[in-house]
Amino acid sequence: MTERGNPLIVGAGPAGIRAAQALAAAGLRPVVVDEGQRCGGQIYRQPLVADGRDARQRYGSEVAKAMDLHRAFEGLVARIDYRPQSLVWNLRDGVADIMRDGRNDRIAYDGLILATGATDRVLPIPGWTLPGVFTLGGAQIALKAQGCAIGTDVVFVGSGPLLYLVAWQYLKAGISVAAVLDAAPRSAKLNLWRGLPLAPDIVLRGIRMAAELKLSGTALHFGVTDVRIEGAARVEHISWRSRGRDHGIDCDGIGYGLNLRSETQLADLAGCAFRYDMRDRAHLPLRDVTGRSSAAGIYLAGDGARIAGADAAERAGERAALALLEDRGLTHDAARAAKLERELQRIDRFRDVLETAFPFPAHWADGIADDTLLCRCEEITAGEARQAIGNFSLYEVNRLKAVSRVGMGRCQGRVCGTAAAELMTRETGRDIACVGRLRAQPPVKPIPFALCLREPTNEGQHESAH
């Protein structure tokens, strides 16, 4: 087996770290490529320099998990080929293109674990491109990793556990949280009681956060619709409807998100089969409970494959690594693998409950105004997209992309892809599962033109700077 090449792990969040740990423990030396400067992913992100706050202040109730992961990874660095601040921008036939510092490395890999994580899912709302509007994840990163607040009078809007978590974190940091605007009806939260036996700590912590927000004077609104962000050159005001009435409040920062969406571009380039997933309301790469994808030697772990959170990501990363070891004919701990699968199934059942308590507000996509920007990159309005769908009788999102450029910009549809599919299903009457998914294209993120012109190098060898 020594003649076989090294596996590649993409991502150094909870899934990637645990995968690397399991492979290194079996004597392999995986290449670990991560865009971050330090390990931890987004959830356990570390600051660029020490900032005087301790880990408990930064990670709250998750401090032990964060520190354990960071320590585990630091202990691995000598035994793996760790490449931070590096982007895998293309994958094909066992070869990955990796950009670091404007230089390209082309490496061959034998076994691939994708732990690419997730970003906030959003739908377009009027004013969402104004300075001062960040995703919930973005608002959290500003606070956690940069020690900055996105405003002095902040409103959080959307759906998902992150809505309350980030609002509570801002409150604890001493920032005035003017309002939390939840797209879901208040009654949806009653579903949390069904989650109590599955994950009592998480449910009770969530309820405590909401209670503390309420007690601090933060206005909590439920069943929110018709959200509109206003301001001349930055956020100044937000208005919405709830309980049959119009509301509005002044603010100077907004955190917005509708739960998360998986980063699946690399799985697509790697040739994994996809299917529509009802819970995530998205096309996701097929994967079994072991983490094996439809393609031999390619494994999927963490939120990049399906949204399940950091605790699941740790277990899925390790489980996928054990599957890789087994497929390579190496010894692997079958009892451990079975235990991880049981834990993953339990978390998955809790995830079903969470989805009912924090549902995606698909009805927000019903009335997107024609003059609202659908695509931030190419600045295409919902009206222009509707017109393209009508004029060209489009019924599939890649056709919409070709005709209108929606999803063709710098973000490659990460931000607008959800809205494009929702709009398409409404305009055509076709089921959301049948309007297609934006196909991934290399480069999956922007790279300089100069990079493409350079001759690729072999594994581990940096080309000389010229």
Partner: protein
């Protein structure tokens, strides 16, 4: 008024950079996004409507925070650490 408000690293070492020609100071540990939005309300103007933008996801996904340096180099502000002497332009310039 700046978009971001600093709660930590207030006394960290200063890092000088310029924003549209105006000398500014960031702090050690700043991303370029943080350093710029501690001083201003925008990172760039959009290509088609010249509307102000100030990033969105802060995790390298949305690509809405690419800024331009005076020498024409482009940097993704949320994933680029601030470096002494950076010269950033946030307003669209007419091409020479």
């Amino acid at each position: 008024m700046p978009l971001l408000h600093r709660l930590a690293r207030i006394g960290h070492a200063a890092i000088a950079f310029t924003l549209d020609g105006v000398p500014c100071e960031g702090r050690a540990g700043d991303t370029l996004l943080t350093a710029i939005l501690r001083h201003g309300e925008r990172l760039r103007e959009s290509e088609f409507s010249a509307s102000p933008r100030a990033g969105f996801c802060q995790m390298g996904a949305c690509q809405d925070c690419w800024v331009q340096c005076e020498d024409g180099e482009r940097l993704r502000a949320c994933t680029t650490p601030l470096v002494e002497g950076m010269r950033i332009v946030t307003r669209q310039r007419t091409q020479p």
